[in-house]
């Protein structure tokens, strides 16, 4: 890369550093000039369009940053993550489950492998609260919990 190209690239990075921002800002300015001076568009409408274009540019460039990334479900309804299970209802979420979760999951009733089902018949992704409570209490015989002394 010669010095001239490097200087152009450095200038571009200094001001915009982003092809979407540069292109769309140029378009916004050109479009506004055309609307005002050639099409005699109403001023408030043109101003609104100009500001809206700026916001769209920001949205577009940020959208590109997250393109291809999975969106995590962070709702307070209890979904733990994509591919996990709803910790309140035990219903599995769609999608892949992290391998680490499987290795961390352990059930006293043996339902700790991918593709198995819990004692409620629901496929397991992560440990169910009930299973973990059993594990914390220790194995049970009838209603009694067996504890180690």
């Amino acid at each position: 890369m010669n010095t001239f190209v490097r200087a152009i690239k450095a200038t571009y990075n200094f001001f915009a550093g982003d092809a979407i921002i540069l292109t769309t800002v140029m378009l916004a300015f050109a479009l506004t000039a055309l609307l005002l001076h050639m099409a005699n568009a109403p001023m408030p409408l043109t101003a609104l369009l100009f500001v809206t274009t700026m916001m769209t540019e920001l949205t577009a460039t940020l959208g590109r940053e997250v393109a291809g990334r999975p969106k995590h479900r962070l709702s307070p309804s209890g979904w733990s993550d994509l591919g996990d299970v709803d910790l309140d209802t035990g219903i599995p979420a769609a999608g892949p489950v992290d391998g680490e979760d499987y290795s961390a999951a352990s059930f006293p009733d043996g339902n700790n492998a991918a593709g198995t089902v819990s004692d409620t018949g629901v496929p397991t992704g992560l440990p169910f609260p009930s299973a973990l409570q059993r594990q914390t209490r220790g194995p049970t015989v009838g209603d009694k919990t067996i504890t180690e002394d």
Binding site: D18, V51, L62, E65, P70, D84
Partner: protein
């Protein structure tokens, strides 16, 4: 001083504070790892270069570029620059990019400098001077750009409204100088990287300010007459602020979560946490 002059002063002050904090970290690294003589020599040379850039470009642009074209050019450049800063800030607040951490940068730089030099020289070291010069110049260029663009526009507005001599560049330069002095005093007092300066917040505010002024002046240059003139700046700033907060909320869903097990543990009972151990 007019409202627009105050806005120029504040914008230049905030933007400069952010950049000076970043430059200060590198100068501190050079001072600690090589020697203070080299660090200060590099800094002084960069400050002189920056002052020359502001003086030459500021004067030349005022003299040769017509007012309406100047507004379009300044507005266009400010929008580009502002959207870039705003994008970075939104990504940081959404958790997609790590927040700027001066201490981490300081530690990494110290390690890099120590790997380069084994013994601390007492004389002026060319590597130390070059490092300090480069960092202050690069960080300062953004300040110079803001001082020139904001200053030019303020000068132009004042010149057309009451015919007085333009002094916008001087006002913006004073804002930058005040920020520089404040950072140097704070840095000399704590003798450590300035972690408490809310750089991420400042960058976010400056991003909104630059985009607001860029949109306003660019629009004016193109022929838009804003509703209630300068007061519309506040409306624009509020719009950009609200919109960027909405973008942060939207992008948070895409941020890499902490390892799923950890997030799961956080939300659940202590009995489950115990069970996972």
């Amino acid at each position: 001083m007019t409202a627009q002059a105050w806005a120029v002063l504040i914008a230049a002050f905030l933007a400069s504070a952010v950049e000076f904090v970043e430059a200060f970290t590198i100068v501190l690294v050079v001072g600690v790892t090589i020697n203070w003589r080299s660090a200060l020599a590099g800094t002084a040379a960069a400050v002189v270069a920056l002052a020359a850039i502001v003086a030459i470009f500021g004067t030349a642009i005022v003299r040769y570029v017509p007012l309406d074209d100047l507004r379009i050019v300044v507005g266009f450049l400010l929008v580009l620059f502002g959207l870039k800063w705003l994008k970075k800030s939104v990504l940081r607040y959404a958790g997609l990019t790590a927040l700027h951490d001066e201490e981490a940068i300081y530690e990494a730089r110290i390690a890099a400098m120590r790997a380069h030099d084994k013994v601390m020289p007492t004389y002026i070291d060319p590597f130390g001077v070059a490092t300090a010069f480069k960092s202050v110049l690069l960080e300062g260029l953004e300040v110079a750009f803001i001082v020139i663009t904001f200053g030019l526009q303020a000068s132009a507005s004042q010149h057309t409204s009451n015919g007085t001599q333009p002094n916008g560049i001087l006002v913006a330069a004073l804002g930058a100088l005040a920020a520089g002095i404040l950072v140097i005093i704070a840095g000399a007092t704590v003798r450590a990287p300035l972690q408490r300066v809310p750089e991420n917040t400042l960058k976010y505010i400056v991003g909104i300010l630059l985009t607001t002024f860029g949109t306003f002046w660019g629009g004016e240059g193109l022929g838009i007459e804003w509703w209630h003139d300068d007061l519309f700046l506040l409306v624009l700033a509020a719009l950009y602020f609200i919109f960027s907060r909405l973008l942060v909320l939207w992008l948070r869903g895409y941020a890499p979560t902490t390892p799923p097990v950890v997030s799961w543990v956080k939300r659940d009972s202590s009995a489950q946490q115990e069970a996972l151990k």
